[in-house]
Structures are given as structure tokens and as C-alpha cells.
């Protein structure tokens, strides 16, 4: 009986927490979010060719990573690394900014996770995505 009560209470707490998070506005519009999105949009043109070639892929934690550097000429490898680092800096800032704009900085991890799934769903056929720690081509 006592255990059942504990289970009900735990489920209730979990449901409440999920409902609270469900209220997060992922499309929230602030100057910070806009600046980051603009920066990411500008960079996407430089990154898209590397997604297609498989040189980079989308990770399960909402970031991008160099998957196969050998798909890039030696002279361009560091610039790809730089693009990936800048993209990840923006992505981390975006998750943080959306959580802050929702007045719940503690939601950052859930927001990141939701975005990670979204990026992977939206990835074009042929792009590489990380599923369960392993790379998989869509």
C-alpha cells in the first residue's frame, strides 16, 4: 500500500514536471535568440556540403561533430573544425537562451534534448546522425 502510494506520488511528480516543461515556448523570440539563429543560418550554407559528404554529422546531444575528417581536403580540415566549434557554441547558447527566456534556466537539458531529436528528424536523407552513440546515415 505504502509502495503504491509512493509510485502514485512519483508518477504525479513526474507528470507535473513534464507538464511544466511542456509549457516551454521553444519558439520564444528574444534579441538573443534571434542573433543566435541568424548566426546559425548564415553558417548553415558553409556546413551543408559537409553534412552531405558525411564529414560532419548531428549528435544525439543536440550538437554537431566531425565524423569523417578524411572526406575533407587537408587544407580545409581546420576550417571545418572551426565551423563545428562555432556552430556548437551557438547551439549551446541557443539552448541556454531559450531556457532563460522561458524564465526557467533549469530546463536547458530538456530543451537541448528536444532540439536534438528535432535536428535529427529534420536531417536530410544521406546525412549522418548519431543514434545510441553510433553513427547512422539517414
Amino acid at each position: 500500500m505504502k509502495n503504491n502510494l509512493k509510485l502514485v506520488l512519483s508518477l504525479l511528480a513526474l507528470t507535473t514536471a513534464l507538464n511544466v516543461f511542456a509549457a516551454a515556448d521553444l519558439e520564444v523570440n528574444t534579441p538573443g535568440v534571434n542573433a543566435i539563429k541568424q548566426s546559425m543560418q548564415t553558417r548553415h550554407g558553409q556546413l551543408s556540403g559537409f553534412y552531405t559528404s558525411g564529414a560532419i554529422g548531428l549528435t544525439s546531444d543536440g550538437l554537431v561533430a566531425v565524423r569523417d575528417a578524411s572526406a575533407v581536403p587537408l587544407s580545409a580540415r581546420q576550417s571545418v573544425n572551426g565551423l563545428v566549434a562555432a556552430e556548437n557554441q551557438d547551439r549551446n547558447a541557443l539552448y541556454s537562451e531559450i531556457a532563460t527566456a522561458n524564465a526557467h534556466p533549469e530546463w536547458q537539458a530538456e530543451i537541448r534534448s528536444t532540439f536534438a531529436q528535432r535536428w535529427i528528424q529534420l536531417a536530410q536523407p544521406g546525412w549522418w546522425v548519431q543514434v545510441g552513440g553510433a553513427w547512422k546515415q539517414k
Binding site: N34, A35, I36, A69, S70, Q78, A85, A86
Partner: protein, 672 residues
């Protein structure tokens, strides 16, 4: 060449002797005879499950179930001799092949009495490896002649920790000699061409490399002395994050000598010639057992900073403000490392320059004298002749900085700006647990507003900007300004308090502050922004201001005419412009019928409030009616005018667009 090769030859000798003794009585007339031989085990290699098969036509096959070379394991290795000959003291294997090396034919002979081994391997495209080994009285010599020798043949023998060699050819000679199992002399003189290597990640790779290596080494009483030269003439290398390429820029050369004793590799008197940079001298001691650097020094005199910065520093600065910078000038540089930390850094810069690709800053005529020591106080000097930051020109400076370990202090420095100066006092920079912290206090000596407005591309402003800077502190990626900044503009005062910059160098910098302005001269202000003329004084309070990415996110603002007796007049144009800001019907001037007859009107009080939230400005004024209409300008004097506001809410973005339109284009808006 090391103990591996000497023990290999010793074991080969024993193996051949044993095998020949075994075969001697069996060779004649035997058909498909198979014999198992005992394992061969040496420190650096081992053969297990050896099986020799003798065919009737003089062919022999050696099958090895398991072979170990250093730490690499190979299974089911097969060596085949199409013709096995034994003539007098010499046994030879002709038309040999080894399944580990497909496409390679070899000839092997061993003279029992002379203990001389000859091995020749040939393949397509004139590839030839010729090895001669001589054993006598415990001493031995080995010489290998290489001709278009393909490195890929032995790629699988290289340690896995090294990037894999994909292709490449060697020409030249390798010689080694020793006694018993001890190597005492080695000489390498080879040229490499079309060499390519890469690790699995592709982050350490080279392509189309060509060059030459010369190395001589002698050992006495377990102490090695060596000297070597290397030239890298062609190709490109990416060793994350560095990318280096030869060709038109010149040849990389490296000359060094040193020793190897008790597991410590010593590099002394090394000189690296780096194209377009200059010569750099190096010394180092590397503990190969602990895999750690014991000590090292690097010194370059009059090196060119252009390529040094672009090739060797910039890849490490991608996330910094210098990511798009170019550097010019020459410098003497030095670095010393000992006891697990940097002991000395020297940077004597002459006529240097730095320029940001995004045109955010540049400095010219930089001279520095930095001689930093880990445990001894020293003073650095830094000067530049001119510069610019965000379009603001900087005058010449000469600063002195006291240094002790990771503490840096500037007692006082002046940065000339726009006829005034930024004065920095008690600047302190020190390394915290995770990152760098800095702080300073200071002042702004009167800066010309006319010059400032010109560089900021704002309407021409008059007067000066001056103020006190109580304390500015940077830590945890946040800049906090303690106390209050005090400026004087438009003949009034501006106090900025609770000022914070969050993520100041990030993608979405955030500024928080409270602004309190007193007795601003409306005449100066409105003339500056072409808003029409308003005479009087005004107080402005902007509390809880948050700016993000240089756009207002929220604030509670209140604009009120200052207390006291002074002339209060507002021009017809200013009334029209105020009326236009709220949009059609949002604001109306009472007595609009008389507006057209007079150029200016009297007023008693101005009050306007705006609370910004979610891009909506919630407005209010002096007094409001039950229907929500509020007074922005209360009339007074003759002729007087009262301006009322009807809309409580307005889109902030739209309001800013209208202000810009009025201020910049000075567009006439007709009051309906």
C-alpha cells in the same frame, strides 16, 4: 635498428642451421615431406607452429601458425621458395614469395661459414630492397639499400599509436652494426617521396610529402650520441589544428644533435628553419618512460610575425577576438620550460601591427619588451603609435606592466581617445582556478561629443563626455561595474548603476543597468536629433534595463520635466513629431486648431512613462481620465498646448522605427 634486428639475425641463423640439419638426410628423393619445427622465440619477435613442407621439385614452403613482431601479431604466415638450393656452404631460396607481401619476389641466401645473409626483394616499378647482413665473432653489420621502396609493405609493422602510412617510397641506405644483441652504430640516409599518412580520425595526416632524412647514432656504455638533418621539401600536413604546406614558400629544415641515456632523449643545438618565419633554436629533454617533457627551450631572433602568427598561433585562437586578425612586424621570442611549468617568456616586438579582418580594431607601431619569469618580478613595457577600436581612433600610448607569476598589474595608464582619454588605474589581471579575472578603476577625461557622434555615425552632438569609473571587474564570463558611472552630457548628468555585461564576448551579449539622468538640456537634445525644438530641462530614469544583442529587452522608463524655474517652450514641429510617434489617433494635441498659427507653445510639465515587456511598451503620462486617456505634455503659458495620449500599448519595434524615421529623415508628419 635496435635489439630487434640483432636478435632477429641471431635467431634466423639458428633457425636455418637447425632446418638444414633436419633436411639434409631427407632432401633427396623425398616427396611432399612435412616437418614441424620447434618455436623460435626472441625478445622482439616469435614464431609459433612452424611447419616446413618440402616438395619433390626442390620447392619449399614454410608455414607459421602465429608470428609476433614487436607487439604486432600475424597468423597463418606462408613463405614459399620456388627453388631451394644448397650449394656447398650456401643455402639459397630463389623466386621466393611471402603471402604477407603480395607482389614481392625475393631471393634469400645464407653462407653458413661466413655467416653472411643476403636478401633481395623486388617488385614492380623498379622497387628493390637489398639487405646484406654479416656476422663475425659476435659482431654484425647490416646494410639495406632502398630503391623506390614502398613503405606500405611494412605499414602493418608500425606501432598502432602512429598514424597509418598509406603510401610513400624510400631511396637511400640504412646501415647498422653491433655486437651480440647490442646495436652500437646506425646510419640512415634516405629520401622519401609521395608519402601519405593518416590516423583513423583524419586529424593527423600528411599527403604528397617529399624530403630527406640523415641520421647517425653511436652507442657507448648504453649512452647514445646522435645527430641528424631533415628536410621537408614538398607536400602538406594537417596536425590538428595546424596546417602546414611547402612549395613556393620554401623548405622546412631541421638540424639537431643530442643523446639518449637512461630513457631520456636529449635534443641539443637544434635549429629549425621555418619558411617565411626564420630560424628557431630548440633544446629539449623527453623522458620516454614517463612520456613527459623534462625541460625545453625555444628561441627565435628577429622572426617574422606575419606567417608565425597565421600558421602557428591563429589555429589556437579561433574562439577569441583575434580569430580574424593579421599580424605584422618582427620579434625576438623565447620560451623556457622546466619543472613542469613555463619558466620564461620573452617577446621583444619591433614595429609590429595587428589588424582585425572584421575591422573591429587595429594597432600600428607596436613595440614591446616583455621578459616574463615564473618566480621573479619583472616589468614589461608596451607602446603603440596609433590604433582604432570600433571606429574610435586611439592615440599613442606607452604603458608599463608589473609581472609576477600569473599576476599582472598596471598602476596607471592613459588611452587617448577623441581629444580626451580613458584613464585606467590599478589594473589587475590574474589567473583564477578556471579562467582569467581582471579589474580596474578609472576615469574618462573629457571626450569631444562632436567627434564621438561622428565616429558612432550619430547626429552631431555638442559638449563633452566625461566621468568616473569606480570599479570594473571581469570574472565568470561577466563584467560587473561596481558603484556608479557618472557622465556629463547635454549639460546634464547621467548616472549608470548596477551595470553588468553578461557573456560580453559571446553571440548574445547581455547588458543590465539602471540609468538616471538629470537636467538634460532639451534644446541641445532635440536639436541634435532634429526632433523639432523643445526648450527646458528633463529628468530620465530607466530602471531594470536589459539589453540583449544590443536591443532593448525590458525596462521601466520615466521621462519627467526637471523641477525648477526655466523657460519651457515646444515648437510646432516637435508637437507634430510627438503626435506621430503613437500612430494615427494615438496622440492628439488639444487646441490643434491653433497649432498652425504659432511656431512655439508654452508647457508646464512633460511626463511620459514606458514599461517594456515582450516588445510592447506600456505607456502612461501625467494624469489619466477614467477612459484611460493620459496627459503627456500639460500646457502652460500663452499660447499653451496640451498633448494627450490615447493608446496605452505600442509595439516597441514599431515605435523605434518611427523615432528613427523622425530623427534621421526629419520627415514631416501632419497632425490630423
Amino acid at each position: 635498428m635496435n635489439q630487434f634486428s640483432s636478435s632477429l639475425f641471431k635467431s634466423v641463423h639458428q633457425f636455418l642451421m637447425g632446418a638444414l640439419l633436419l633436411f639434409a638426410p631427407l632432401a633427396v628423393g623425398a616427396t611432399g615431406l612435412a616437418i614441424s619445427v620447434a618455436d623460435v622465440i626472441a625478445p622482439s619477435f616469435a614464431l609459433h607452429g612452424i611447419r616446413l613442407v618440402w616438395f619433390e621439385v626442390g620447392q619449399m614452403e614454410i608455414n607459421v601458425a602465429q608470428m609476433r613482431v614487436e607487439k604486432r601479431e600475424f597468423s597463418k604466415v606462408k613463405l614459399r621458395c620456388a627453388r631451394l638450393l644448397w650449394q656447398g656452404q650456401e643455402v639459397s631460396c630463389r623466386d621466393g614469395s611471402l603471402d604477407l607481401l603480395p607482389g614481392v619476389h625475393f631471393e634469400l641466401s645464407y653462407h653458413l661459414a661466413q655467416q653472411r645473409l643476403q636478401l633481395t626483394m623486388t617488385a614492380a616499378d623498379n622497387e628493390r630492397w637489398q639487405l646484406v647482413g654479416q656476422f663475425k665473432g659476435g659482431a654484425w653489420q647490416v646494410a639495406v639499400q632502398l630503391q623506390n621502396a614502398q613503405l606500405k609493405r611494412f605499414a602493418s609493422l608500425l606501432p598502432k599509436m602512429l598514424p597509418a602510412v598509406g603510401q610513400g617510397a624510400l631511396n637511400g641506405t640504412i646501415q647498422a652494426s653491433g655486437k651480440s644483441s647490442i646495436l652500437t652504430d646506425a646510419q640512415v640516409d634516405v629520401q622519401f617521396a609521395n608519402l601519405a599518412f593518416s590516423d583513423e580520425s583524419g586529424l593527423h595526416a600528411g599527403e604528397k610529402l617529399a624530403g630527406a632524412v640523415k641520421l647517425t647514432a653511436q652507442q657507448q656504455n648504453k649512452v647514445w650520441q646522435w645527430q641528424g638533418d631533415m628536410a621537408w621539401q614538398q607536400g602538406e600536413v594537417f596536425w590538428q589544428p595546424l596546417y602546414l604546406k611547402t612549395g613556393k614558400t620554401g623548405v622546412y629544415q631541421f638540424h639537431a644533435q643530442g643523446g639518449f641515456d637512461a630513457g631520456v632523449l636529449r635534443v641539443a643545438d637544434a635549429v629549425a628553419t621555418v619558411p617565411e618565419v626564420g630560424d628557431v633554436r630548440l633544446t629539449a629533454q623527453w623522458d620516454s618512460q614517463k612520456k613527459s617533457l623534462v625541460e625545453a627551450s625555444v628561441q627565435g631572433d628577429n622572426v617574422s610575425l606575419d606567417r608565425l602568427f597565421a600558421l602557428y598561433a591563429l589555429p589556437y585562437l579561433e574562439k577569441s577576438l583575434l580569430a580574424e586578425a593579421t599580424v605584422t612586424g618582427h620579434a625576438d621570442v623565447a620560451w623556457q620550460y622546466r619543472k613542469g611549468k613555463t619558466q620564461l617568456v620573452r617577446l621583444n616586438l619591433r614595429d609590429g601591427g595587428i589588424k582585425d579582418g572584421a575591422k573591429r580594431f587595429h594597432l600600428a607601431g607596436i613595440h614591446s619588451s616583455v621578459n616574463w619569469l615564473a618566480d621573479t618580478p619583472s616589468v614589461a613595457t608596451l607602446s603603440f603609435e596609433s590604433g582604432e577600436v570600433m571606429g574610435v581612433p586611439l592615440g599613442a600610448v606607452q604603458w608599463e606592466m608589473a609581472m609576477l607569476g600569473q599576476q599582472f598589474n598596471i598602476a596607471q595608464a592613459e588611452l587617448p581617445i577623441l581629444g580626451g582619454a580613458l584613464v585606467v588605474k590599478d589594473f589587475e589581471l590574474h589567473r583564477g582556478e578556471k579562467d582569467w579575472h581582471w579589474q580596474f578603476a578609472g576615469a574618462i577625461k573629457p571626450i569631444s561629443m562632436e567627434k564621438l557622434s561622428a565616429v558612432a555615425k550619430l547626429p552631431k552632438m555638442l559638449g563633452t563626455l566625461s566621468g568616473m569609473i569606480p570599479l570594473v571587474r571581469y570574472e565568470n564570463n561577466q563584467i560587473n561595474v561596481g558603484g556608479a558611472l557618472l557622465f556629463q552630457v547635454f549639460d546634464g548628468t547621467v548616472v549608470v548603476s548596477q551595470l553588468k555585461f553578461g557573456d560580453p564576448f559571446g553571440r548574445a551579449p547581455r547588458v543590465e543597468a539602471n540609468l538616471n539622468m538629470r537636467h538634460l538640456d532639451l534644446d541641445l537634445l532635440t536639436r541634435t536629433f532634429s526632433f523639432g525644438s523643445v526648450q527646458g530641462l528633463i529628468d530620465v530614469d530607466v530602471d531594470n534595463l536589459i539589453i540583449q544583442s544590443w536591443q532593448a529587452l525590458q525596462f521601466d522608463a520615466r521621462i519627467v520635466s526637471s523641477a525648477g524655474n526655466y523657460r519651457k517652450r515646444i515648437s510646432q514641429k516637435a508637437v507634430q513629431n510627438i503626435s506621430s510617434l503613437g500612430g494615427s489617433g494615438a496622440v492628439a494635441a488639444i487646441q490643434r486648431g491653433v497649432v498652425g498659427f504659432f511656431d512655439t507653445f508654452g508647457y508646464d510639465k512633460i511626463v511620459w512613462t514606458c514599461s517594456l515587456q515582450n516588445d510592447v511598451c506600456y505607456m502612461g503620462g501625467l494624469e489619466s481620465t477614467p477612459s484611460g486617456v493620459y496627459t503627456i505634455i500639460k500646457g502652460g503659458g500663452i499660447p499653451a498646448i496640451t498633448v494627450m495620449g490615447y493608446n496605452r500599448n505600442v509595439s516597441w519595434s514599431e515605435l523605434i522605427t518611427r523615432v528613427k524615421r523622425v530623427a534621421q529623415d526629419n520627415r514631416q508628419v501632419i497632425v490630423k
